[in-house]
Every structure is written in C-alpha cells, then in structure tokens.
C-alpha cells in the first residue's frame, strides 16, 4: 500500500478511535464496554519472594468515568482465569468465579471439559466461597491454603490517559511535545475504584509449567475472560 494511502487511512482510524480512553482493558470494545462484564484489568504475581503461591487479581468494572456500570457483581457473569501449562495457548486449568446472593463462589482449578468460548460452571470442583466485601475486606482461606476475596478496591492502574489521547490525536497542534514531565502529568485513575476478585493459590494446585517465556524461564501463560449467561 502506498504510504500516502496508508497515512490517510491511519488518520481516519485515529480520529474514530480517539473518541475515548480508558485503562488497561477498561472499556476496550463496543460489546463489553461499560457493562457489568467489562474486564478492567488483570494481574498475576508472586506474593512475596520465595512464596510457593501465585496471586491472580481480576478487576471488573470501573468508576473512572461516569456512566459506566459499577458497584455490583452481575450474577449472570462468569469470570474465568485460564492457565496454560504447556505453551500451546489453550487452557489446561481454569478457575471460575460467580456471584450468588452476596457471596462469590469459586470453582477449580480444573481441566475444563471443553475449551474455548462457551462455559458451564464446574460445580463438581468447588474451591470455596467468600462473602462479597463492602469497604472492609472479608477474606476466606480454604483448607487447601487458597485465599479468596471479592469486592470493591482502589483501582491500582496508573496512566495519564487524557494526555495519551492528546498524544495520539492526529491534530498537529495536539500535544506536539508528547507526554508531560512528571511534575505536570496526572494519573487519570487516581481515586478510581474497581470490583476486584483476588485468588491466592498454591502453585502445586495449578501444576508445573513446561511453557517458557522469551528469556527461557518457566511460566504459566494466563488470561481472564468474562462470560455472560445465555
């Protein structure tokens, strides 16, 4: 494609896309944006050096902008944390979470009976459940050493999102200098809240990965999905 054509197409795309912003995945697509099934963010980390556990944090919904669904877990939305052990990008273990009457129920980790875009709750593999918290965090630790939490938390994502939108604007006088220096930049998400689901689980329950990252280190390949009841 000729560069000029490509450029013009690019500008059209940017003008359309520049209608708004938001976070790590917050509001990322028309069908899920701003709904109760909108995934805001995903974290996976070792809780402390030398720990034999892994922590998964799934943030749903956000109040960073007005008019977004925020405040309650939707009982028709099933959240799934997918874990690929062998690097084929197909889930080998799944942890599920779904709300019922003020509690969050967790299932798995279990090898799913079917992979892909359609799911059912693995009721034969109950992991535990926890009261959905208000401002105070209510936590549950199962006999297997799994910690569970669900409720509102501060959104830890940080980004000068409004300046970003100025940066990518095709208007030639929009942010010609790019981002702002630290003394002028502002975290758009400062003060925003999100609905968090947090699971801390012993690695022994997930299995040993054979997948590796670009540096050759053994890793789980993970992703989160939301799934709406049909």
């Amino acid at each position: 494609m000729r560069k000029t054509t490509k450029y013009l197409l690019g500008l059209v795309a940017l003008v359309i896309a520049a209608t708004v912003l938001v976070s790590a995945d917050h509001i990322d697509a028309p069908s899920s944006a701003g709904t109760t099934a909108d995934i805001a963010d995903f974290y996976a980390f070792e809780p402390s050096e030398g720990s034999d556990n892994t922590v998964f944090v799934v943030d749903l919904q956000s109040n960073v902008l007005p008019e977004l669904a925020y405040g309650a877990f939707d009982e028709d939305v099933l959240t799934e944390i997918n874990i690929d052990l062998d690097g084929d990008l197909v889930e080998d273990q799944v942890i599920q979470a779904i709300a019922r009457d003020g509690r969050m129920y967790f299932f798995g980790p279990i090898a799913p009976s079917q992979t892909g875009l359609s799911s059912e709750v693995n009721t034969d593999a109950a992991l535990g459940n926890v009261e959905i918290s208000g401002a105070t965090a209510v936590v549950e630790t199962t006999s297997d050493g799994v910690s569970l939490f669900a409720g509102p938390r501060q959104d830890p994502f940080f980004f000068d999102f409004f300046q970003f939108n100025a940066v990518i604007s095709p208007e030639t006088d929009s942010a010609p200098g790019g981002f702002l220096p630290p003394e002028e930049a502002a975290d758009t998400f400062d003060g925003a809240n999100t609905l968090s689901i947090v699971v801390e689980i012993p690695n022994s329950m997930l299995g040993t990965p054979t997948a590796t990252n670009a540096l050759g280190l053994s890793v789980y390949k993970t992703w989160v999905t939301t799934n709406r009841k049909q």
Partner: protein, 242 residues
C-alpha cells in the same frame, strides 16, 4: 450502548483495605487492620444454589492494553475489538498481527506530521529487545500474561541491570523478567518504550538536540506518572475503596 473505544497503550511484549477489621471470627482474630475473616464458608454451603446454564465469552484480557491500543474499529465495519475479545489465544496472532502492525506504524505517522516530517521517514525502529515490528506485534497479538511460579515478579524493568553484567536493556539469557505483573509495575512506560523507544529505549524522550533549553523531540517513552493507589503486602493486596 454508547461506543467507547479505549485507546490505551500498554503492552508488554515479549514473549514478555482498609476498613478497620470488624471481625466476625469466633476468636475475634484480626488478621491485620485491613480485613476480617469470613467464617461462613463451608464446603457444603452450595446447597440449593443454582449455577446452571451456558455462558458465552464477552471479554478477554491477558497483557493489559493490547486490544485497546493496537486494535481499531472502522465505522461501518465489524468491530475488530469485539472480535479480539471473542477469539481464543491460539488463534489470535493469525487473526490480528497485521492489523496491529499497521496501527503501530500509524502512531509513528501521527508524530511525523506533528514534527513537520514526512510520515514515510518516521517509522517504528527495532526496540530494546531487538524485535522488528512484525515480531513485536506477533507476540503481542497472542494476548496472554506470563507469570513464573518460582521467580520474583518483574513485568520488565528497563534501565535496570538485573544480573549486573553491564547490559542494561537487551536480555542476554540470564535476566529475571517477563515473570508476571504486580500492581506497582509501570506497564504503560514499558509499553511506550517498546513501541517508541527504539534500540536504546529513548528514541523519543524529549531530547533537547540544539541545547537551547527546549525539547526538540517529543516525550513518548514515559507518561510521567507512577502508582497513586494504596496497595498492601498482604492479601488481598489492594487498598480499600475510596
């Protein structure tokens, strides 16, 4: 629903409360002053709870910001962003890599114009990991987050010589990185560096080329902000809502 498109940059790349505890626990145990234990949970308390039904996928996230940043929707055409959210990871690279690469180049074209340059002359350059645009977007299109079970979590930390070998930016096989994402990881700056930083990570970082006290190149490799939310070293790790 109002169309909102998030444009947000992020990405890693390479295959890369508080509320005072009011304990309901029988022993009145305060784990710390941020939480209380839930003692209602029993394995059998699912009795009578209905979990039946089939659930269809509507949203997906691995590495934060990939879909929002590198997918774009054209008016009148099916939403690429929606398609990304309902594609399984093993099929993502084939479906989305070319579109991601085009988008990456478009970002550079926008800044070429702002700098008064020909867009043909300002293009993506291989980044600090040595990845060309095709390879970078191939990796990013498969939207999964890698986390190492037995190593410290480091999303990526440009500028840090993790193994003290004097090689700061380019992985040489013994770094610990790409091992997960912690709430304090600055994924935005990492992503910006990978997209706009070139081989040294500072290609567009507000340089004053003629030493007149004014920046001559845009600042594109850092958004200038760090973590503002409260986080904790204990479960559930995130601060109470504000």
């Amino acid at each position: 629903m109002k169309l909102r498109q998030s444009i947000y940059i992020t990405a890693l790349v390479l295959s890369f409360g508080l509320a005072v505890g009011c304990s309901s626990d029988d022993n009145g145990t305060y784990m710390d002053d941020e939480m209380m234990m839930d003692d209602d949970m029993m394995d059998d308390d699912m009795m009578g709870v209905d979990f039946t039904g089939t659930f269809a996928q509507v949203d997906h996230l691995g590495r934060p910001g990939i879909n929002t940043t590198l997918s774009y929707d054209m008016e009148g055409e099916a939403s690429v962003k929606d398609a990304h959210n309902t594609t399984i990871p093993s099929e993502m690279s084939a479906a989305f890599q070319m579109g991601f690469q085009a988008r990456l180049e478009q970002y550079h074209d926008v800044y070429a114009l702002k700098l008064g340059l020909d867009p043909a002359d300002v293009n993506y350059e291989n980044n600090i990991l040595g990845l060309d645009a095709a390879t970078l977007t191939t990796v990013l299109a498969a939207d999964v987050l890698e986390v190492a079970p037995d190593l410290p979590t480091t999303y990526f930390n440009p500028g840090t010589d993790l193994d003290n070998d004097g090689n700061i930016l380019v992985p040489d096989g013994d770094e610990v990185a790409l091992t997960g994402r912690h709430p304090n990881d600055d994924i935005i700056d990492v992503s910006l560096i990978l997209f706009f930083g070139g081989m040294e990570g500072d290609r567009f970082s507000g340089q004053d080329l003629d030493d007149d006290g004014m920046a001559d190149l845009p600042r594109l490799t850092s958004d200038g902000v760090g973590l503002t939310a409260d986080i904790s070293t204990t479960f559930p790790y995130l601060g109470a809502p504000e």
